[in-house]
Symmetry: C2
Subunit: 251 residues, 2 copies
């Protein structure tokens, strides 16, 4: 008998977020599920790791085909711990999310959801991040479940190219108008600091501007038009077209 | 009279690290310097931000053509704060480092040094990260100063392509054997957790393996052969070659 796929689930909103419980349920339809997720919110943690203080792993629940652990570290720590200290074979898939807040355009660089996905990819595991454009803690995830499962099934069946992972984003709509395979939009965060009552103490905030709102081949365009976006990301960040331009620096 | 270039300096080892003091001195030869750096070590902080607690900015020192601020946040927070709350015009250059420890290959994904560089790039400022392959807190940086200044001067004069920044790494050698403009090597971190005295509490550690040690066009090869590496990085992480492969997911 063929083994069930082994699926590692994590997120950056923490184990108690609604998004991860929805994702766990989706993944249980596709295989054996191991969850290792932060024990609290880790939004904006990107690919950060915990190099100085030790990290705690705690078994929260275990039942047939599902085990759930919490971790005191970052989403990347969760994947690293799961890989070496929890699973007994290499997972077939890493999924992260469903994040409360989109991770389209440059926002992915700050995203702990996508940090975990990049980490899965660095370990040679096909990895997918899911995020929903919402500001709510409680959302209706039903419009997205079919796409969540379709993308995961596709990846379980076909794999992904080496060193490539997926960034999947959903708009908050009652019904998706489509699914777009597309590139990252260019974008910029501005007005990022709010004064507090204390001088020289600031609270991070910010407004995002899509720098190419007319570009139909981008993730932001898809979300703005009621579609899910699927963007393949490369671990290799080398800008190959600049290598020649910089050759004069070679010695 | 032409204005002096305005150079923003930061790092992830904190304001008291030797690497940043060396970098500040180098940059003072090239322009007016503003330093906004973390008030302590932030290694492994990647592109993480501080979304929940407020962040403090503190003027530490001010003299002609040099002002130094400390910040309670991450390297990315430092660049964001400098940009909106410190400088009165857009900096001509962001430099980060000199990191104690290299950020070649996939290590760049975890790097706070490079997080700051990506942030500078996201703000449309030419940005460079410098890192030294060393485990020491006190190092002899003299063999690298000329390249540090040459690369910064080149970028001040010629700029960088849109959405491209530089990752510069140095090997620990008495004299550099050359400077290589090259791509990121493929690599993997393994054996990442050390047991502690407490069960289920682990300390992050790890061994890096270069997955393509023979590839002469990579950063790791350059470092292994006594050369500095200069790798252009792209903010746009889209893997364009996978867009076609994934088209069957489009709806």
């Amino acid at each position: 008998m063929q083994k069930q796929p082994l699926i590692l689930v994590t997120n950056d909103d923490g184990l108690n977020a609604q998004g991860i419980s929805v994702l766990i349920k989706c993944m249980q339809e596709l295989g054996q599920v191991v969850v290792v997720a932060p024990n609290g919110a880790r939004s904006g943690s990107a690919c950060s790791i915990t190099p100085i203080v030790p990290v705690t792993l705690k078994l929260e629940r275990e039942e047939e085909n599902l085990s759930i652990y919490s971790c005191s570290g970052t989403p990347v720590d969760c994947v690293k711990l799961a890989y070496e200290k929890v699973v007994h074979r290499k997972p077939d898939l890493v999924v992260s999310g469903i994040n409360h807040g989109d991770n389209a355009s440059v926002s992915l660089h700050y995203s702990g959801t996508m940090g975990a996905v990049l980490e899965g990819c660095m370990k040679g595991i096909p990895s997918i991040g899911y995020s929903l454009r919402t500001r709510k803690q409680e959302c209706d995830f039903r419009p997205y479940l079919q796409v969540v499962k379709d993308v995961a099934s596709h990846v379980l069946k076909n794999g992904l190219p080496q060193d490539v992972c997926l960034n999947v984003n959903f708009p908050e709509v009652p019904a998706l108008k489509g699914v777009s395979v597309c590139r990252m939009a260019r974008g910029i965060w501005q007005s990022e600091w709010k004064d507090t009552d204390v001088p020289d103490v600031y609270q991070l905030t910010g407004n995002f501007t899509n720098l190419e709102p007319e570009a139909e081949d981008t993730d932001y365009w898809a979300l703005d038009h009621g579609m899910a976006s699927i963007t393949p990301l490369s671990l290799d960040m080398t800008d190959y077209s600049s290598l020649e331009i910089l050759k004069s620096l070679q010695r």
